[in-house]
């Protein structure tokens, strides 16, 4: 008889510790969301559906909602096209250098969207240093083609390609070779296999990937802010930002309703994704065979060249544009050997006090969040795995919410929760602590999931063996659980650091003078026309990101499966 489930085992000290850390985690992650929904429903005192309807009926709301749906929807379509092609080819064929290809495809996801937007505007439009250097720039006064819905859609599509790629590849890899071999033995050939075997088996993961991509695109702030605001094209996140930036906390109730609107769409997307995820598990139980491997034959080299050209177009080209802009003395000057200048880098990195502050702030915030979340998530994930309490299961299904909700929504929630600390006159709004708490809420899932997946793979007998020889709770945590999940916890911590270090959406609404983050600095520099300096800071961040990703990549051999998000 085998044990399919980890039987709950009880011990009072474990139960008490679970209650403690679970309570803490719920307070950190779910309290802001609960506060937001409370505000949205009771805006203007009492349960007030009239106010809700009033905000929703405004033309600005309606057009922003429509813009959000259009850009997120069409952007997702682009992600599906690019990510789908890559996923099928990488997962199912005998391409060479797959690891390098996947690594490069992951970089756009890890580069913050405002930098993506900035770098793309540097390869297009009349002031593009890149185009001027090549002598291809359109005449001055010509419009920047990216300041348009089309530009937003294109960049959203590129930004989120890797989400589709990762989910679809995981689904494709789960198809055992014998499923296809059985079809061929039964006489199915060519496209029929694809149509009747491969596609139906991957459909749940594809649909799940689409749902989560759509939600992510919907919440994206950096791209519509950098491209849409100059064009007067508002999506829900930028509308919220503009309302709050323009009118201050007086419009909190109104933006709370807007935040709820976008939150509702996001939750619908998450539920859809969950549904497909469950469907998929139903399909492929016990798929233990070898994964499919289709030889490409003579088409291999052309396919490889095409894929690498694609990488060049979505990664190398914008980065080259960004680099070129960061190296000229003034925006608009073409880059030549005699105009090459590091002034922008020097000014931005060493002179501007705001940049220096932002580096310190972002570093402390993300390192602090990573360390604290690691300390919280390790015991939490382990105890939740061992004790299937109802509260734990509920938390497990809700803890992605602050990460999946658009950053502006979470920011509004944090403001509502912390603008007046309960029972005091004190406020955290305007201090760095509100950003820190927001990071804890937002990135708990990023830390928790890798740790959880590594602990799930841990044989429960590891712990039971230690119990049987008499080890008390804290000894087991220290001697068994911590060492065995340390690699996953470290990877999770690096991921938290990486995402928090670059983050703009949350801090865009929470920063004040002195508490800027790097994302805010780039956004503000670009907003005030200091494109060269913005590019220099952005380039620095891209280098940091790629360095950290390389560190994870190089240590991934020592990590359990499923911990590094871009490897399966």
């Amino acid at each position: 008889m085998t044990r399919a489930i980890a039987y709950p085992s009880s011990s009072r000290s474990e139960g008490r510790l679970l209650t403690l850390v679970l309570g803490l985690a719920i307070l950190v992650t779910l309290a802001p969301v609960a506060r937001l929904f409370h505000e949205g429903l009771t805006a203007g005192g009492g349960l007030n559906p009239g106010f809700l309807a009033e905000v929703l009926a405004k033309p600005a709301t309606r057009s922003a909602l429509w813009h959000s749906l259009v850009t997120a929807g069409l952007g997702t379509l682009i992600s599906v096209l690019i990510g789908g092609v890559f996923a099928f080819l990488v997962a199912l064929t005998d391409l060479r250098r797959k690891a390098a290809l996947v690594f490069c495809l992951m970089i756009p996801m890890m580069i913050p969207p405002q930098i993506t937007a900035l770098s793309w505007t540097q390869v297009m439009g009349p002031s593009s240093v890149f185009l001027k250097t090549l002598g291809l720039a359109p005449p001055l006064g010509a419009p920047q083609p990216l300041y348009s819905p089309g530009g937003i859609i294109l960049l959203l599509g590129i930004q989120h390609t890797s989400i589709i790629f990762l989910t679809l590849r995981a689904g494709l890899r789960a198809i055992p070779q014998d499923a296809v071999e059985a079809a061929r033995i039964s006489g199915a050939r060519g496209l029929r296999i694809w149509w009747q075997v491969v596609l139906p088996l991957t459909l749940p993961s594809l649909l799940g990937g689409i749902a989560i991509t759509f939600v992510t695109a919907l919440g994206n702030f950096g791209i519509p802010a950098m491209l849409g605001i100059p064009a007067g094209y508002a999506t829900l996140p930028t509308l919220i930002y503009q309302r709050l930036a323009g009118l201050g906390t007086a419009v909190l109730a109104e933006v709370a309703v807007l935040a709820m609107l976008i939150g509702a769409v996001a939750i619908a997307g998450i539920l859809l994704q969950r549904f497909f995820h469950r469907r998929q598990r139903l399909h492929l139980t016990g798929a233990g065979g070898r994964a499919l491997m289709i030889p490409l034959g003579r088409a291999r080299l052309p396919v490889e060249i095409a894929l690498w050209l694609m990488i060049a177009a979505i990664l190398v080209l914008p980065m080259a544009g960004l680099l070129a802009t960061s190296l000229v003395p003034a925006y608009g000057v073409p880059l030549r050997l005699d105009t090459l200048s590091l002034d922008g880098w020097h000014e931005a990195l060493f002179r501007q006090p705001a940049t220096r502050r932002a580096f310190v702030n972002s570093f402390l915030l993300s390192a602090g969040a990573a360390a604290l979340l690691m300390a919280l998530c390790l015991p939490l994930a382990w105890l939740m795995e061992r004790h299937k309490t109802r509260a734990g299961q509920l938390f497990d299904s809700l803890l992605d919410l602050p990460y999946a909700l658009p950053g502006v929504v979470l920011a509004i929630a944090m403001i509502l929760l912390l603008i007046n600390l309960p029972f005091t006159e004190a406020t955290l709004y305007g201090t760095i602590w509100i950003i820190f708490l927001a990071y804890l809420a937002r990135f708990l899932a990023v830390m928790f999931r890798p740790v959880q997946s590594s602990l799930r793979q841990l044989d429960p007998a590891m712990d039971e063996a230690a119990r049987a020889v008499g080890a008390p709770l804290w000894r087991r945590l220290r001697d068994i659980i911590l060492p065995l999940s340390a690699p996953a916890a470290a990877a999770g911590a690096i991921l938290v650091f990486l995402t928090a270090f670059n983050e703009l959406t949350v801090s865009a609404l929470l920063w004040s003078s002195g508490t800027e983050t790097l994302g805010v600095v780039i956004f503000n520099l670009d907003d005030s026309g200091e494109t060269v300096m913005a590019s220099a800071v952005a380039m620095t961040i891209v280098l940091v990101v790629m360095f950290l990703m390389a560190v994870i990549q190089l240590t991934s051999r020592h990590l359990p499966k499923g911990v590094v998000p871009w490897q399966s």
């Binding site: 008889m1 085992s9 007998a461 039971e464 049987a468 008499g470 000894r475 065995l484």
Partner: protein
């Protein structure tokens, strides 16, 4: 060392009862096997003994100490029971060397270093593991890992050793040699051992007594010989050993002997029941004889190496199993004579 006493033990997972009203005693120093098909509750029983689960009803005593009682809510944690547990997956800690794995229980008990080292060395010697002391578990073969697991539970002198299908992941040859290791271990330490398995050959080879379990109950607890020769239910008769169960009628006792009608004829049977209703026919009860008064048709002949197993259908329609040194073609008619089979009342 201590005896284990279970009283009215039951365990429910949600609405399903994994274990129902189990009362039994494992004697001090006894090697007891829990044998049964998948899902019969044998692993649940073992995990209740270890303390990984709490009983829904009933109580457990280790020696004189009550370690679990569903009525009073008393539950001693596994770490406070001083039992040894050998897992099917070995459960060696992959980040510790063999020596540290074996020595960890002593580390917990804060033994002085010198004594600790001495006891680790003794345990490693007893399992022939000295050459591997500084290896990591991942560098060991399956049999070596199982020996490390055994050494780890041996080192702290547990009051009882619980083994959860410890040989299920090993190949056939290794199983036989590990059986010897377990038997030696039992003889040398005299430890009370409870051994879960679904393999009856394993249970028969090692155990002093076997508890056959089905659907959450112990259906019979006896020595291996008694289980084979005197099953008390259709389930045990069919689960243990080869053979078939056929109905009998009209039992007539005269003195110590008994006669009953089965397979269409009157035959002497062995029984201790006043009114047996079933007979267990082992292959050794049946002899093929052309003059035999029981006629049967061969349904299938399976070569077992040196002999054939014959699946037969008697004229009464009952299925029988016999052994023969020669092959019979399916469909051939043969005659059988019977030595007195074991008869019992249907439970």
């Amino acid at each position: 060392m201590a005896e284990l006493t279970l009283t009215g033990l039951a365990k429910h997972f949600g609405k399903t009862a994994a274990l129902q009203s189990v009362s039994t005693t494992v004697e001090n120093g006894e090697f007891l096997a829990l044998l049964g098909p998948s899902g019969c509750g044998k692993s649940t029983l073992l995990r209740l003994l270890a303390g990984f689960e709490q009983p829904s009803e009933g109580s457990i005593h280790i020696g004189a100490q009550e370690v679990a009682n569903a009525a009073t809510g008393r539950h001693a944690a596994p770490e406070d029971r001083n039992i040894g547990f050998v897992f099917q997956s070995y459960a060696l800690w992959p980040h510790m060397t063999v020596r540290r794995n074996v020595g960890y229980p002593l580390e917990i008990r804060k033994l002085p270093r010198a004594e600790r080292e001495a006891r680790i060395d003794a345990a490693l010697a007893a399992t022939a593991l000295q050459p591997y002391a500084d290896r990591m578990p991942s560098d060991l073969s399956g049999g070596q890992r199982q020996r490390v697991a055994l050494a780890r539970c041996l080192v702290s002198d547990p009051t009882a050793v619980l083994l959860d299908e410890p040989l299920a992941n090993l190949d056939v040859a290794l199983r036989a040699s590990m059986q010897e290791v377990f038997c030696d271990f039992h003889q040398r330490t005299g430890a009370t051992m409870v051994y879960v398995t679904h393999d009856q050959a394993e249970a028969m080879a090692m155990a002093d007594r076997i508890a056959v379990m089905n659907e959450g109950r112990i259906v019979q607890l006896d020595t291996p010989e008694a289980l084979y020769a005197r099953p008390r239910s259709r389930f045990v008769a069919e689960f243990i050993g080869d053979g078939t169960v056929v109905p009998l009628s009209g039992p007539q006792h005269s003195g110590t002997s008994c006669e009953a009608s089965l397979l269409g004829t009157r035959l002497p049977v062995k029984t201790d029941s006043p009114s047996p209703t079933l007979a267990c026919l082992r292959p050794e009860n049946l002899a093929i004889a052309e003059t035999g008064d029981i006629r049967a048709q061969v349904a299938r002949a399976t070569y077992l190496g040196g002999r054939y197993r014959l699946d037969l259908v008697a004229t009464t329609g009952d299925a029988l199993v016999a052994q023969s040194l020669t092959r019979y073609a399916p469909g051939s008619q043969i005659g059988l004579t019977l030595t007195p089979p074991w008869a019992f009342a249907a439970a």
